[in-house]
């Protein structure tokens, strides 16, 4: 073999070896990165699951507190009043029984309403839109608020995360009832491109928005939205009402 031919052979072999070595090196390094990436993903997933469990427990705790407050402040008071009516020696017997009966009926109604509010299965079976509409119906029945609901006909697929979203809606409505001093509550639900957007607005006193996650309540809502794979946007100014939009 002459000199140039052998040089070409050696050169080509060297180049081939280097190139194949480069590709093998790439595959090995890629596999290492892939393993690290999978580990990171797993740890993120477990952290997320942990956060979810903590949040669910927080929601439960909050619900227990609300139930306890409701039983103590409302149902307990009504039942105590009924007991007083029945034990009052000054009142004539049939009137006392009649009054006590009315109070007991109110207590039963309140327990039923409380049970409906807490029922998770109902939200899962009815879907988030139907449950929200029922919530609005309950608000209408109080006759304290002018309630307006607007929605188009597209219903989102039921998901586990909808329980969290429904609890968020309940909390927003409760906050309006307790703190907003509003006379009108407006709900707008629409679905565009598979994204359901739910806006709850009121004409109440509103609040100053220093930062988007101001206050524990707002931070809680934002965290829950994150867990439910949803986004939440607060829009409020002192004296100009509040508008909260959840997209899921």
């Amino acid at each position: 073999m002459n000199n140039q031919v052998s040089t070409i052979f050696f050169g080509a072999t060297a180049i081939f070896t280097v190139l194949v070595f480069f590709i093998i090196l790439f595959v090995v390094y890629y596999k290492q990165r892939q393993r690290a990436h999978l580990l990171e993903k797993k740890s993120l997933q477990s952290a997320f699951e942990q956060e979810k469990i903590i949040s669910v427990m927080e929601i439960q705790e909050q619900t227990f507190n609300e139930v306890s407050r409701e039983i103590h402040d409302n149902i307990g008071q009504v039942l105590s009043l009924a007991r007083m009516q029945l034990n009052n020696p000054n009142q004539s017997h049939p009137e006392a029984i009649q009054h006590a009966d009315e109070l007991l009926e109110q207590a039963i109604r309140d327990i039923r309403s409380l049970s409906h509010t807490l029922n998770t299965y109902k939200v899962q079976s009815m879907g988030i839109i139907e449950s929200t509409m029922q919530l609005v119906e309950q608000l209408k029945n109080t006759r304290q608020f002018n309630t307006i609901i607007e929605f188009d006909n597209v219903y989102p697929e039921p998901k586990d995360s909808h329980i969290i979203i429904y609890r968020m809606i309940q909390e927003i409505v409760n906050n309006i009832i307790k703190h907003s001093k509003a006379s009108e509550i407006k709900l707008n639900i629409q679905t565009r491109n598979d994204i359901t957007s739910l806006t709850i607005s009121d004409n109440g006193v509103g609040f100053k928005q220093a930062s988007p996650h101001q206050g524990i309540g707002m931070r809680n809502l934002a965290e829950r939205a994150k867990l439910a794979n949803a986004s939440i946007e607060f829009n409020s100014n002192s004296g100009n009402g509040t508008s909260i939009q959840i997209k899921f």
């Binding site: 031919v5 070409i8 052979f9 050169g11 180049i15 190139l19 890629y30 990436h37």
Partner: protein
Amino acid sequence: MLNPYALPLLIIIALGVMLGMVKRKNSDKAFHTVVVLLVVTFITELIANSIHNFGFKTNVTVYKIFDPLQVILFSYIFYHLYQFRKLKIFAVYACIVALILLTISTIINISPNVNNSIGVTTKCALYILLSLIKFSEMLQTPSEENIVVNPTFWFCSAVFFFFSVNIMFWITFNQISESAAKNTARLIHVYCNYIFYSIVALSFLLIPSKNKLPDRYE
């Protein structure tokens, strides 16, 4: 009469085109363009290897027409293979720069019978760069699927391998004086062509069927 080395190459490219057509429903824009590139290459090689029959001395002009087209198609393939927007923009600019350099070197090297080795070296450098960038992007965003069955990995490896050999071939070819050594270099180049187009054709086979698509495709 066709060059004896051209026939296997044409068969491999034709097989690649057929596989690409079979898998076209499952493949993305990048691999659709690979099919177009193979069709263009097939026509070019067919003309280049049979042009002597029509009285032409060399087939250099055929490749001079083919080169800019190949640059555009390769840039378009990598444009679609890249995930990051800045890399897509880079592919567009790299394509424009390579086309300008190709045009300038063709004008300087005006004779139709002289090979435009500067232009060829430029395009080879461009393809090596584009494939190396794709490798680095793959390292930055590792997916859960096995890299060895990833068609993009094999396509990039083939491009990197073939054009690295090609660039060495074009740089050293003019320095070789002995005809036996020139023939050996040509032979190595021909076998590299076979390997490159075989890997490109086989990468079509690795494109997953729609009912077997991993999560990220759903």
